[in-house]
Amino acid sequence: MTPLLSAAGIRKTYGAHIGCTDVSFDLFPGEVMGIVGESGSGKTTLLNCLAGHLAPDVGEVIFDTRADGPRDTVRMSEPERRMLARTDWAFVHQHAPDGLRMNVSAGGNVGERLMAVGARNYSDIRQQASDWLGRVEIAEDRIDDRPTTFSGGMQQRLQIARNLVTAPRLVFMDEPTGGLDVSVQARLLDLLRGLVRDMGLSAVIVTHDLAVVRLLADRLMVMKDGHVTETGLTDQVLDDPQAPYTQLLVSSVLQV
């Protein structure tokens, strides 16, 4: 079976400082990969290299495109990469306003990707936007309100709807629950879990929160100082950590 995303030898340095190095993995359709690490581990650099926001110094990121089969997205032209980012990929930012248009209504935010790929019927667009707001548990009567009037959790859910409306096959998430209240986090995680399962999404989720990966990720990569120190099934890495750093990380988590 062809991997949906295949990272090979990704390396990104900033002068003498290693952002991330020697990262390789295959992600198959329907799999969720978590990348955990503390600040400075390189997980965000890696995510940005995978998602096309940064060009790695070395390595390939091969995505199985719908039209042309496996293509190295690092070497793709910018228009192609941007098109991919609007259709088959999604990126959920930690800070929701980074992934939203704050001066556009909720309906406009969700409809934008549809309009970007040629949707030209207002009622259809509005209906789809409305459906999606329902799926992310935002009251439909908020469809004409701007995200500036939404709470943090609602903004994050709107960002998710905006990203998923074109049914992308791969979702990148950067600390999707970061900065949210605990109860809000729980709701969001549950929503994400359901959507990932219902839509058969593959995802790469970067987080420092082990509870998030326990809940959402099938597989886990642990990073420290730019290197992958351990990788495997999430439950195996968390329950039977092999590497010293992983053991430290797991034992440091406070039990409630």
């Binding site: 910018e78 228009p79 941007r82 001066n103 409809g111 934008e112 207002y122």
Partner: protein, 282 residues
């Protein structure tokens, strides 16, 4: 006479502007950056249009200048005088007699010919500016044809007002490629943009020139279920009785009295000279 070079600008500047114009004509609707000069009028008063006209004019041309359709407003009068003084060319108020027409915010009612040039004064050339403030992003969007955001703007209009509320500067798609701001002409004028004349657009403050060769395809953006409507006030001209021209609303007294008159003064005059009479004609 004076010590001015023909049409005020030096020859090198005019060459630079003409190059920009040629590039604009070669890529209809694409905003060509140009080195806008300091002109003897402030930004916001038509410096872009003036520079384009200055580069396009030859000593044999006849110039008409209109401002919101009228030849007799302060701005139209000033600019016409400017060119009379610096280029010593013939001027006219009659659309049919002009070879170069500089306009602020209107297209003349009378259809233009293939030996005429229409020069528009443009305040903000970038149609995406209000939704995407970054120039770096809008340039990318144009080059990559990423125009979803333009429809978002129209979507927002319909969501807020029930219909596309944009009444002027209504965005258009040129030859199926570039999205362009036609300058703040009323949407009523959009269909006229498919014409026999050359259309040149100059934005002095923003330093951009764009152009449409004759018979270019110009399509106003819309939705399938909210199609573009080139509407105007549902009245006739009070002076000449015209039903088909764009109208200005004129307040006549303090009691709410008003009348509607053709915005295109030359058009109205010509109709009246031909014997048409409106309801409010004195």
């Amino acid at each position: 006479m004076t010590d001015y070079n023909f049409a005020y600008l030096d020859e090198q500047t005019k060459r630079m502007i003409r190059r920009a114009i040629l590039k604009g004509l070669a890529i209809p609707g694409y905003q060509v950056p140009f080195a806008s000069r300091e002109m003897p009028m402030p930004y916001g008063w038509g410096t872009g249009g003036v520079q384009v006209s200055a580069a396009a004019l030859t000593p044999d041309d006849t110039l008409k200048v209109i401002d919101q359709g009228a030849d007799d407003t302060t701005n139209a009068v000033s600019i016409r005088a400017f060119f009379q003084r610096t280029a010593d060319i013939a001027t006219t108020t009659r659309t049919a007699d002009a070879t170069v027409i500089q306009t602020r915010h209107r297209i003349p009612e009378e259809p233009l010919r293939d030996d005429q040039i229409l020069v528009y004064q443009v305040p903000i050339p970038e149609p995406l500016r209000f939704l995407e403030p970054r120039e770096t992003e809008t340039r990318k969007m144009h080059s990559l044809e990423e125009y979803g955001l333009m429809h978002v703007k129209l979507y927002e209009d319909i969501a807020r007002h029930g219909h596309i509320a944009t009444a002027y500067a209504y965005p258009v798609r040129i030859e199926g490629r570039y999205v362009m701001d036609p300058s703040p002409i009323p949407k009523f004028d959009n269909p006229k943009m498919e014409m026999a004349a050359i259309q040149l657009f100059g934005a002095g403050r923003e330093q951009r020139i764009y152009a449409l060769p004759p018979y270019t395809k110009v399509v106003s953006l819309d939705f399938e279920d909210h199609p573009f409507d080139a509407s105007k006030a549902p009245h006739r001209c009070g002076l000449c009785g015209s039903e088909h021209s764009y109208l200005d609303e004129v307040i006549t007294d303090d009691a709410g009295g008003r009348m509607f008159v053709c915005s295109d003064t030359d058009y109205c005059e010509a109709r009246r000279a031909a014997g048409y009479v409106g309801r409010d004609a004195a």
